[in-house]
């Protein structure tokens, strides 16, 4: 039953989980962005492979979006924002690397237990894809929780979203996948523009108030 198509899909989905773990322990924003670009690249490969084995050509659009938008445009844009805002030094974390990794492992174990037990009826490929996808989603959530910086939170959100795209493409014949991935791209573009315009440095507490005040002063 383990054909080549299964093995390749499995390999790519598994690599996505691995790269999610790599994101967890990055402590520099530039490195984090590079790892995220890798994450998006693997997603693009995985989606393209699914498009090929399911012979669903519209999925190639999703793969292309992942490749161009998420692996190239967004990391470059965030890179420039980091330079402009002068926040390239370090990421403050709420918990240490060791704790984050342990929590991550627990989350992956949780998603395996939940998904594999629940989907005994489904075909093995979709099943394992879903389990991997849930792991990526949960790891993305973990990253959003353990980072304070707005840029790394956005990276966390995007890797969470990569997990969703993995799940959607793994579900064979799912309609609206392309539309949904476009909707998500718009959402992310909004977030990135938001960070840039409002210069949100930290999670919710410090915005660069002076910049906004002088802006308002001009308008009044």
């Amino acid at each position: 039953m383990h054909s080549l198509s299964f093995d390749v899909a499995h390999l790519l989905a598994g690599s996505l989980v691995l790269v999610s773990f790599m994101q967890l322990y990055q402590d520099r924003l530039y490195a984090l962005l590079n790892i995220f670009a890798l994450h998006a690249l693997i997603l693009a490969l995985s989606v393209a492979w699914q498009a090929y084995i399911q012979s669903a050509p519209h999925l190639f659009i999703t793969a292309l979006i992942a490749l161009v938008f998420k692996a190239i445009v967004i990391p470059l844009a965030l890179h420039r924002i980091i330079v402009r805002l002068g926040i390239h030094r370090e990421i403050e974390k709420v918990v240490g690397v060791g704790t984050a990794m342990l929590l991550g492992m627990a989350l992956v174990a949780l998603s395996m237990v939940v998904m594999l037990r629940v989907t005994t009826e489904a075909d093995p490929l979709a099943r394992e894809d879903l389990a991997f996808a849930l792991s990526v989603v949960l790891l993305g959530l973990l990253m959003m929780v353990t980072r304070r910086n707005a840029v790394s939170q956005v990276v966390g959100f995007m890797s969470l979203e990569n997990g969703l795209v993995l799940a959607a493409t793994g579900a064979k014949g799912m309609p609206l996948v392309v539309e949904i991935s476009i909707a998500f791209s718009i959402l992310i573009a909004f977030i990135v523009i938001g960070i840039f315009l409002f210069r949100i440095r930290e999670r919710f507490d410090t915005v660069d108030v002076q910049a906004i005040d002088s802006y308002r002063g001009e308008r009044l």
Binding site: T119, A122, F157, E161, G173, L176, F190, F198, F204, I212
Partner: protein, 479 residues
């Protein structure tokens, strides 16, 4: 070509949004905004008398008909209120004409997104529509560009995005459950098809899907402990948006949740979704009731009151059965009308006083009698005193619960009483006593506020049999 009400309900706001984006004159924009909202409401109302057959993307049934009419009605009255509200904001310089153009366009886009979410017969389309509604409200919450407003918008954005991401995972799982039964392709996301075939779905997958959907859409409903974005978003945005958020958007998210609850209820092997909703509802009621005591900001206080009432509604639908569902529907309608009326009053009050701090308000019934008494009437209604409509619906929720699960009813009543006391404590200092803070004569439009409160009073005293029959039908449908 025949007239298509569904298309019109979607097209009018969409075209109005595009038109308002290019019109520079704000007075004209405000009028067009009102006109478009009125036209949408009129067409939505016509759905009561004849509705199109369900298609692959849109459908109208008894359940969403109630929601659509309520949404378009409150959307219309809020646009009237918004007209006089923004004129004042422009005078004081808090908003500029450019921002207003943006605001009006976004308002219609939000109406479009909510109508689309309600009309959608496809769970994927419904998800996209709720995402669009989230995006537009985020932009409007941050409209004032102050530190607090941006912070609130960012918080809402991040929490809302995580919420809708989880909801999408749940949606994918529902598709996975449906695929073996219905087959691959778009058919397996059509809600009416899903409901017909739900009995054959894999129950374990459905259960898991519902957990994700409850967490995802529950965040948008504002159920505790997922409510963190709600008070900030309500307090910092323009007041018409607070009214629409509380009165409508929370309902739309709840509607999505109800649709999936019906799916689970149609499959006897799946877990009963009721208890989960009952628990989250009760936590929201009790938590929000206590949080009401420490509020210093008037809009934030009523935001917590919204959490409390969404808790009551989720509780009622979670209990299920004809009577509790009926009570839940009635409560939802009454809450939408009352809470938006309160926000209409609060919007003008904070303009008159120049602040949202409760400590700087006082003696409103002396300085601005109409506004002050309007607020008193609204709070009396929202606290659940007879003879207003919320009393009727809360009474129904409590009595139907006492008959089936007395202990749950005790907790619910406890939460209601705590909230009641908190609201009147604050109301006392705002509306009565020595006048405090600065006060100007209000240039307000009182019609929307008293129109809502009048409806709430009417339902409290006499409910038309047609309405009762209608709600009973829907309650049956919800199971």
């Amino acid at each position: 070509m025949t007239f298509d009400p569904v298309g019109a309900i979607l097209l009018i706001p969409a075209c109005a949004a595009a038109l308002l984006a290019v019109l520079p004159d704000y007075r004209l924009s405000a009028r067009i905004n009102i006109l478009a909202a009125l036209a949408t409401f009129a067409i939505a109302f016509s759905l009561f008398f004849g509705r199109p057959d369900p298609g692959p993307y849109f459908h109208v049934d008894d359940l969403n008909n109630v929601f659509i009419v309520l949404t378009t009605f409150v959307g219309f009255t809020t646009s009237v209120f918004s007209g006089s509200y923004i004129a004042h904001e422009l005078e004081t310089g808090r908003l500029t004409p450019t921002f207003l153009r943006f605001y009006h366009s976004m308002y219609q886009l939000l109406m479009f997104a909510m109508n689309l979410a309600l009309l959608a017969n496809n769970i994927g389309v419904m998800w996209v529509a709720i995402e669009l509604a989230t995006l537009t409200t985020v932009l409007m919450v941050g409209l004032y560009r102050t530190h607090e407003a941006l912070e609130a918008a960012w918080k809402y954005f991040i929490l809302g995005s995580v919420g809708i991401a989880l909801a999408l995972f749940g949606t994918i799982l529902v598709y996975m459950a449906a695929r073996p039964v219905i087959g691959e392709g778009p058919e397996a996301m059509v809600w009416t098809r899903l409901l017909l075939n739900a009995i054959h779905f894999d129950p374990a997958l459905l259960n898991l899907a519902f957990v994700f959907l409850l967490l995802g859409y529950g965040t948008k409903v504002g159920l505790a402990p997922l409510h963190a974005w709600l008070p900030d978003a309500h307090a910092e945005g323009p007041t018409p948006i607070s009214a629409v958020l509380s009165g409508l958007l929370l309902n739309v998210a709840l509607y999505a949740l109800l649709r999936f609850k019906m799916l689970l209820a149609a499959n006897p092997a799946a877990l009963a979704p009721g208890p989960l909703m009952v628990i989250m509802g009760l936590i929201s009621v009790v938590f929000a009731a206590f949080m009401l005591y420490r509020r210093r900001d008037i809009k934030r206080m009523f935001a917590y009151s919204s959490i409390e009432h969404m808790g009551i509604i989720a509780f009622a639908f979670g209990m299920g059965g004809p009577l509790a569902n009926f009570a839940g529907l009635l409560h939802m309608t009454m809450h939408s009308l009352t809470k938006s009326a309160i926000f209409f009053a609060v919007g003008h009050i904070s303009q008159v006083k120049g602040t949202q701090r409760i400590a700087d308000m006082g003696g409103l019934t002396q300085t601005n009698p109409v506004l002050g008494w309007g607020l008193v009437l609204g709070v009396v209604a929202i606290a659940g005193l007879p003879p207003l409509g919320i009393f009727t619906s809360e009474f129904l929720v409590v009595t139907s619960t006492f008959a089936r699960a007395p202990w749950l009813a005790v907790i619910l009543v406890f939460g209601l009483l705590v909230a009641f006391a908190a609201l009147f404590l604050r109301l006392n200092s705002i509306a009565f006593g020595e006048p405090r803070g600065n006060s100007e004569p209000a240039e307000a439009s009182y019609v929307p506020m008293f129109c809502h409160l009048g409806l709430v009073l009417l339902v409290g005293i006499y409910m038309p049999p047609a309405l009762v029959g209608w709600f009973q039908n829907v309650a049956q449908l919800l199971g």
